[in-house]
């Protein structure tokens, strides 16, 4: 109730403010796109607001432009280089998609917290911002086939490498960052291990370097990069627990675009595209050793990655995650 009345008040003030913008002739932002185009766009969107927010594959091709949401400050996945060009693993793939669609790419800088919103409102056509496939997200957006693995990893000092969590003794502690999947996973599956929790990456890092914990558990992309950047540390467990995947996402129900991306990922698999992508963008950070752990080629979570996972249930989890994504995809297309 309260929310509704709030909305109404907001809507009224918005209209007033909008009018004011138009009156004072300060609609500088819209001037860029051409006011006429915007009004037609707005009315078109209004007409369809109940049916769909997204643009279909044909509509994108026709417009000659695709909006892709990427990170602009997550080196080496999506970042901007000194010439203002977008770069990184996700961007390399995005460029390929744009090339094969024959359209110009308009990169949109997204934040982790706004990725779902961008798709729900159709403000971008695809999100390629290191988007981990989760159940909650799959309810709001449609994930295509995965193109990268992400799991937990554990890093420890060179002198005393923890290769399995059972090696952690009763009086030893493992460092985690609060609110991460590492924390939830360890609490659930290893309730006997004492955890040392920190709020930020920086504090966790400092404590770990001071030796307050025997190991540090975090996303494997993080711990691997850490071990490579800091001498004297080794990733004893590169892949632990639920193996999640990273996949492109489109607006819920945008089946034409989703199917096109899926077939694109499959055909790119034949030319080992994502390995080339890894070698072009990630190898500097992660080295050659983790290529098979991280890369998912042709949308299939490879056995190589799963076998490296330390426990069996992680394998199950990884297949569950992909089948979930596939399920969501078929659900969406049947709902259409």
């Amino acid at each position: 109730m309260k929310k509704n009345s709030l909305k109404r008040i907001l809507a009224t003030t918005l209209t007033l403010a909008l009018g004011a913008v138009a009156l004072t002739g300060c609609g500088s932002a819209s001037a860029k796109e051409g006011a006429a185009e915007q009004t037609s766009e707005a009315s078109a969107a209004q007409e369809q607001s109940d049916s769909k927010v997204y643009r279909t594959l044909d509509e994108i091709k026709e417009s000659g432009e695709i909006n892709i949401g990427v990170f602009s400050d997550k080196n080496p996945f999506g970042y901007v280089d000194e010439n203002g060009e977008y770069q990184g693993y996700d961007v390399y793939f995005a460029n390929k998609l744009g090339e094969d669609l024959g359209v110009k790419i308009n990169f949109v800088s997204t934040e982790a917290a706004s990725r779902v919103e961008y798709l729900e409102t159709g403000k971008v056509d695809i999100v390629l911002a290191n988007f981990t496939v989760t159940e909650e997200r799959a309810e709001k957006v449609d994930f295509a086939l995965p193109y990268m693995n992400v799991a937990l990893g554990v890093v420890s000092p060179e002198g005393k490498v923890i290769k399995d969590l059972s090696e952690v003794k009763a009086d030893e502690q493992v460092i985690v960052i609060s609110g991460t999947t590492a924390e939830t996973y360890l609490e659930k599956n290893y309730p006997d291990i004492k955890l040392q929790k920190f709020d930020t990456y920086a504090t966790a890092k400092t404590s770990f370097e001071n030796g307050t914990g025997v190991a540090w558990a975090n996303d494997n992309t993080e711990v691997i990069a850490y071990a490579i950047e800091n001498k004297g540390y080794v990733v004893g467990i590169p892949s632990l627990g639920s193996q999640d995947t990273i996949a492109p996402a489109v607006s819920k129900g945008n089946s034409t675009l989703l199917e096109w991306i899926n077939s694109e990922i499959e055909s790119l698999g034949k030319e080992n595209f994502f390995h080339a992508d890894y070698e072009a963008t990630l190898i500097e950070t992660y080295g050659k050793d983790y290529e098979e752990t991280l890369v998912v080629e042709g949308g299939k979570v490879s056995d190589g990655a799963a076998a490296e996972a330390s426990s069996e249930d992680s394998e199950e989890a990884s297949t569950a995650a992909t089948s979930e994504a596939a399920e969501a995809a078929t659900e969406a297309s049947s709902a259409k």
Partner: protein, 222 residues
């Protein structure tokens, strides 16, 4: 120190372009806020019960809602609820004007109420009509009283524009983060230098405004 990353490629130009984006959004919003805020502030002193209630609710919303939430509501919410597809910069201008208008109106209202009734009465007894009273007696005093407070509001608005990165606008702080992150390996200490330069850029943008306010205060003192 990290200044070297700013000399790479177009980094410095990108940072300045980002600053231009921040300033554009804030100045457009400030202009709208002043016009609407003055109008609303005057309306609020009329003691009309409807206007009082509506403006009170409006002010409370602005005070309670974080600007970030407002940005999300205006940018994403309008598309979801009304099907209107706003440009990110338009959405930002709406949010900042929405906020600025409320604060400006409150300042105008406060300034108007601070003028003692005796001044109105004296003006009338001197034979000035209502319009003349405002133009020659009330408004000059209000403006003088409002300058320091509005300058405070304007500089706060400029600094808060950094939030617009949440709706995909690449402004000065975001460019800074991009530069730091892109050079994470090559120069791990770049953060200090980049943030220091951003600090100087914000300072360069806000300082002239404070100077202007000081000048105007002095000029209109008598």
């Amino acid at each position: 120190m990290g200044f070297e990353v700013l000399l790479k490629g177009n980094n410095m130009i990108r940072l300045l372009t980002g600053l231009a984006v921040s300033l554009k959004i804030s100045f457009v919003s400030v202009a709208i806020s002043i016009v609407l805020g003055v109008a609303l502030g005057i309306l609020m002193t009329l003691k009309n019960p409807v206007i009082t209630v509506v403006s009170r609710i409006y002010l409370e919303i602005v005070r309670i809602m974080p600007q970030m939430v407002l940005l999300f509501i205006v940018y994403f919410g309008t598309t979801k609820a009304l099907g209107i597809n706003l440009e990110a910069e338009t959405a930002a201008v709406i949010v900042f004007s929405f906020w600025g208008t409320a604060e400006m109106a409150d300042l105008v209202r406060g300034a108007l109420l601070s003028i003692p009734a005796i001044q109105y009465e004296s003006s009338i007894s001197l034979g000035l009509n209502k319009l003349q009273t405002y133009i020659y007696v009330i408004i000059p005093q209000i403006i003088r009283r409002m300058i320091p407070l509005s300058i405070n509001l304007i500089t706060r608005m400029i600094k808060t524009t950094s939030l617009v990165m949440m709706i995909g606008i690449v402004e000065v702080l975001k460019v800074g983060q991009q530069i730091i992150e892109a050079n994470r390996k090559a120069s791990p200490t770049a953060a200090f230098g980049v943030f220091l330069v951003i600090f100087l850029l914000y300072f360069a943008a806000c300082w002239p405004i404070s100077m202007l306010s000081r000048y105007l205060e002095k000029k209109w003192e008598t």
